[in-house]
């Protein structure tokens, strides 16, 4: 019972941040995506000490752990674009290989300039 209440309370904080962000982006016609602003609002609340991280754990842990589940409906949308997939197969294949390969190579090279101590 308590766990369920804690989950609902922390989910309410997340939804509150998202709605506040939506309200702000709509009022000021900002180009910033609302969920990202919501992330920044929540981060600000945590950083300023107004909100303790233990209040967020009950909802954040399962949501982040099973986040992958939430993409399935959007991903299935690919069935509407089967024609594009076959028409641009070469483009998509080159993007699939080049984008992560170049990204890993350059980022890895830059990041290895860091002096890390264990």
């Amino acid at each position: 019972m308590m766990t369920a209440l804690r989950f609902i309370a922390s989910l309410a904080i997340l939804i509150g941040c998202l709605w506040a962000a939506k309200l702000i982006t709509a009022t000021f016609a900002l180009n910033l995506p609302a969920p990202l602003l919501g992330l920044l609002i929540l981060f600000g609340l945590l950083q300023s000490g107004l909100l303790k991280s233990k209040y967020l754990l009950p909802a954040c842990n399962p949501i982040l752990k099973y986040m992958a589940l939430f993409f399935i409906p959007a991903g299935v949308g690919l069935i509407n674009y089967m024609a594009i997939f076959s028409q641009y197969a070469w483009l998509l294949a080159s993007v699939l290989i080049l984008v992560p390969a170049l990204g890993l190579f350059l980022t890895g090279k830059l990041a290895s300039q860091g002096r890390f101590h264990d």
Binding site: N31, L64, V99, S112
Partner: protein, 230 residues
């Protein structure tokens, strides 16, 4: 028409089964989301069910997509003190990695003369899917294509990423972690965690920093690139 209860329960059960399969064999190729998307798509196609019906029946699941992005604030906050000395390096690496991914995809699209909506779907592929979907939406791209491409990039990075980094002469686990987190989001982060705990911590920090950067920088970069080309 499919009912909301059926649509959600079906997706949840399928996801739970695929996760078990993934845990049993531990291979990035058996990515649970990828398997679920392929299976659901096949079922809809063979069962002659409209995608719109399935999408409407699963709105409670998609609702959490935006919530999940907000929830990313917690791990960022929790890791901030551990990574603070390297924040500049992680920020610069993310900036380089994201810009490189967007420019590469843009040039390829230009080369293959891809239509505008397709191009807009390929601009933000190295970050975690909810951010990609949000950026794709901002640029009026096709979410289905963006989602599947992000997952495939993550899977490829998870399978080949560490060997590629070793080949490139990157030796420190922290640097490998940053590269995997920036270029291959959550699936790369999972691979980094299995490789080394320090790599995992840096990967998840890099993943979140690039998520924030992507959402704010990619739409601007895309407009800039379009301005240069035309």
């Amino acid at each position: 028409m499919i009912n909301i209860l059926v649509g959600c329960a079906f997706t949840l059960v399928l996801f739970a089964i695929m996760r078990r399969i993934n845990h049993r064999w531990r291979s990035p190729i058996l990515n649970p989301v990828l398997l679920c998307i392929v299976l659901v798509s096949a079922i809809l196609l063979f069962g002659d069910i409209d995608y719109i019906d399935y999408r409407n029946a699963t709105t409670p699941i998609s609702f959490f997509l935006e919530i999940a992005v907000v929830a990313l604030a917690l791990p960022l906050y929790q890791q901030l003190h551990a990574i603070r000395p390297y924040l500049m390096l992680i920020g610069l690496s993310s900036f380089l990695g994201i810009s490189c991914a967007t420019i590469t995809a843009f040039m390829l699209c230009h080369w293959f003369s891809a239509p505008e909506p397709l191009m807009a779907s390929l601009m933000a592929l190295s970050v975690t899917t909810p951010i990609t979907l949000i950026v794709t939406d901002t640029l009026s791209g096709l979410p289905g294509i963006a989602a599947i491409m992000v997952i495939l990039i993550g899977v490829l990075g998870g399978v080949f990423g560490l060997s590629l980094l070793t080949l490139a002469g990157v030796t420190q686990p922290q640097a490998k972690g940053i590269a995997l987190g920036v270029a291959c989001h959550a699936i790369g982060t999972a691979a980094a965690m299995e490789h080394h705990p320090a790599a995992g911590a840096f990967a998840s920090a890099a993943m979140i920093v690039s998520a924030v950067l992507t959402a704010s920088w990619v739409p601007v970069l895309f407009t800039l690139l379009q301005g240069i080309i035309s």
